[in-house]
């Protein structure tokens, strides 16, 4: 049970890393909403990113360090634009803000789950 929870914490932290990278990408889009010729970007889906990130490093001895702060290589692709303006810019502020809202909601969900599991572990250790 405890191991499962620990993996859950790792998963949550990776998902939050991915969400933060996505928020940075969206911020770049919104900042360049009036830049001629700028193409809107989005990050790769989380399940694709998760495969490359790897949940844990293989350890053959107890003295080996487990995977610490693995750099999350979040891939970036061009997003499907709602509209392209005459200047060749494909950023739609509405689309970006909706996505930023999604990021916010998912991040809140993750932190709430982490908090709930942390509380649960504490209850188990204190009892």
């Amino acid at each position: 049970m405890a191991l499962g929870a620990v993996q859950l914490f790792g998963l949550i932290s990776r998902h939050n890393q991915w969400l933060a990278a996505r928020q940075a990408t969206l911020a770049g889009n919104i900042a360049n909403a009036n830049t001629p010729g700028f193409k809107a970007l989005d990050v790769e889906d989380f399940n694709q990113t998760l495969d490359t990130m790897g949940l844990s490093m293989a350890t053959t001895q107890s003295a080996h360090m487990t995977s610490g702060a693995t750099e999350a290589p979040v891939g970036v692709r061009q997003e499907d634009p709602w509209d392209v303006t005459h200047s060749g810019n494909s950023v739609s502020l509405e689309q970006e803000l909706i996505k930023a809202g999604e990021v916010n909601r998912a991040y809140r969900l993750n932190t709430s789950i982490a908090k709930a599991f942390h509380r649960m572990l504490l209850t188990a250790t204190k009892a």
């Binding site: 969400l19 933060a20 990408t25 770049g28 900042a31 830049t35 803000l97 916010n104």
Partner: protein
Amino acid sequence: MFDPLEATLQIGASGIQAQSKRMRVVTENLANAQTTGKTPGSNPYTRKTISFEDEVDDTTGANVVKVSGIDRSRAPYRTEYNPGHPAADEKGYVKLPNVDMLVELADMREASRSYAANLQVVKQARELINMTIDLLRST
């Protein structure tokens, strides 16, 4: 390893800065919409234009925006027949600035909309950071 949320704040700040510069240029144009020359036949105020470009920040890899240049519009001036004006040429025509109020006001609206969107991004990034910090509290 850089923090994407720090980068977000930086990108949002660059957007806010770019849009305020744009607002400044629009205001200059509006304020000088009636500014003529002083000597006969001289040119009046020329409308300023601002252009943006995206730039990759070296330290964070973030896609920030920056002002690539403030130029002068090449649109022709308006002319008005007013022989008594100090800037009137020998035929009595005065050159007026090539500023179109309607275009400037539309530009201003767009700038303020983009400014608000950037501000919203900064607010949301701050919220995400706060949610992470809250993990340490109340347990």
